[in-house]
Amino acid sequence: MTSSAQPGRRPNYAAGVLTAGWLVIVLAPIYVLVKASLQTQTDYNSSGPLSIPDHVTPSNFGTVIHSGFLRYFVNTAIITAAVVAIVVVLVPPVAFAIVRNRGRTVTLVFRIFLLGLTVPVQAVIVPLYFVITKVGLYDTLIAVILPTAAFSLPLSTIIMTGSMRDITGDLYEAMALEGATSWHIFRHLVLPLARGGMATIIIFSALNAWNGFLLPLILSQSAHVRVFTLGLYDFQTVSSINAPAICAAVVLSIVPILVVYLFARRALIRGLMGVGGK
């Protein structure tokens, strides 16, 4: 708790102005987004973005769904599920090894993942495109899934390692004294106690995959493998003057994340907050 939270002190006007001002900046576009998605193009264009609407209509959502967004929705969901599956299978074992195996090789593995954090996806889009084309995966969902999962691994491993370090050494020792194998310890001690970290990496990699843009942009082109973000981009280019329809498409893209956010807010925030360190 910070000092300004203590009761009985004079109100902090500066904080009030800052927080209220920022709230307006954050919420105004959200208001326009939701409102415009329910307006006709004529109404929106004649009355302006901020005005209170006279009447609302869901017709934009029909337009959006008829222009192929259901397909994009399904594609994005498949990619997200696959990326999460890969991360969940690969990350806990490597984090377990990093935390409990003190050997040089595993320390090196940890360093490699640390280094991986600083490699921007942007830098490798050309070679990824080259490799994916050469192995004949261009324009498939797998082409997007493989690198998206790979670039989720470093951060997920770091988060999972932090979560497993919170398990005290005594618990490991107790199980080891009873002669438990590493598989047994992993299955019955580490996995149950690292549930929080697990939730965080699932949400992280899912958010990453759902919102991904660059990799689908360079690794796919056909409508049948198009993802939501690319659909938004294309839709924006072909109907840039139809702001309400664009807003409806954006609203649709956010709904699934909003649902996840409502159910898993804590895990998400804990992970993001943890990034800052002490």
Binding site: M1, S3, S4, A5, L18, V26, L27, P29, N45, P49, L50, I86, L90, A97, R100, R102, T105, V106, V109, I112, L114, G116, L117, T118, V119, Q122, A123, V124, V126, P127, L128, F130, V131, P147, A150, L153, I158, G162, Y172, E173, M175, A180, S182, H184, I185, N211, F213, T229, L232, Y233, A243, I246, V250, I254, I257, L258, L272, G276, G277, K278
Partner: protein, 311 residues
């Protein structure tokens, strides 16, 4: 999005017990996957930078031709300037706001929790969605500039034609970047501020230090590592900003918002000069890695401890 807040170092060995300790093999699947899908391409990009390839056929070895021609490429040199300006403006705008908001949000009152949840909304949106929404909002004919002409109708804001002038286009990218990333950095600072021991503030209050004094003598110094982390994330993030430039300005007007990573994309996927694009890719990797290494060295990042305390 990257993060490097890591508990480094090895703990003192807790007993010599070797039973039940996982072997190196446990790390092998993830390592192999990461090496094949992320690190091998890093090697390939170096090789491609010495070739000429237009997406058809096979790359042809051209030695250092791409490198020498790019070092004389005025647009590339200009793109570094654009990237530096966008990065600098990103740090200058995002750091103060998110620092103040984060410290404020670290309090435990109910209204702060509710406001924090609202501040969080932009984080749920993809960069694509955010850019598209702002592109619509800032449209000079149907968007905010027409509705709020008292605000936009001056030469400072290009009379509402924000995308037509260099200064205002840079301003749009900076502002949208701020809208997109401030919530994330606010969360980082909130976590950092919550980890500051309450006893420090109590001691300061007993000594009669006011709110402002406490902020500068306790909060800021205690948040040193958090500030470093946040600034580095903005640095690396700005270097690789791509989606918002592609959607909002497409590098225009002229090449005045063409950042280095966007220029790489243009070279590769619009001009099909993948050799040139690879050179820029190599430069990007080198620069971002250097930044991270320098910061890790200077800040002792790798020695940082727990990241989850105080949540």
């Amino acid at each position: 999005m990257t993060a490097l807040a890591v508990r480094g170092g090895r703990k003192k060995s807790s007993g010599g017990l070797q039973i039940g300790r996982p072997s190196f093999l446990w790390s092998l699947p993830a390592l192999l996957y990461f090496v094949v899908c992320a690190l091998v391409p890093l090697g390939v990009v170096i090789w491609l930078s010495f070739t000429s390839w237009n997406a058809l056929g096979s790359p042809a070895w051209v030695g250092t031709d791409n490198w020498t021609s790019l070092f004389h490429d005025a647009t590339l040199i200009h793109s570094f300037k654009v990237t530096a300006i966008l990065t600098g403006l990103g740090i200058l705008t995002q750091t103060p706001v998110s620092l103040l908001l984060g410290v404020w949000a670290a309090g435990h009152e109910r209204n702060r929790a509710i406001l924090s949840a609202l501040y969080f909304i932009p984080l749920l949106m993809s960069a694509t969605a955010i850019s598209i929404v702002w592109l619509s909002l800032l449209n000079p004919y149907y968007g905010l500039p027409r509705e709020l002409h008292w605000l936009f109708d001056n030469s400072l804001l290009g009379h509402g034609y924000l995308f037509s002038y260099t200064g205002t286009a840079i301003g749009v990218l900076t502002f949208v970047g701020m809208w997109q990333w401030t919530p994330f950095h606010t969360l980082i600072y909130q976590g950092g501020a919550r980890a500051i021991p309450e006893v420090l503030y109590q001691a300061a209050a007993i000594d009669g230090a006011g709110r402002v004094r406490q902020f500068f003598s306790i909060t800021l110094p205690q948040l040193r590592n958090t500030i470093i982390t946040s600034v580095v994330l903005i640095l690396v993030g700005s270097f690789t900003t791509f989606d918002s430039i592609l959607i909002l300005t497409a590098g225009r007007p002229g090449v005045s918002t063409t950042s280095t990573s966007y220029y790489m994309y243009v070279n590769g996927f619009e001009k099909f000069q993948f050799g040139n694009a690879s050179v820029i890719g190599v430069l990007l990797v080198v620069v971002t890695t250097l930044i991270s290494l320098i910061v890790v060295r200077v800040s002792g990042w790798d020695k940082m401890r727990s990241t989850q305390e105080g949540v």
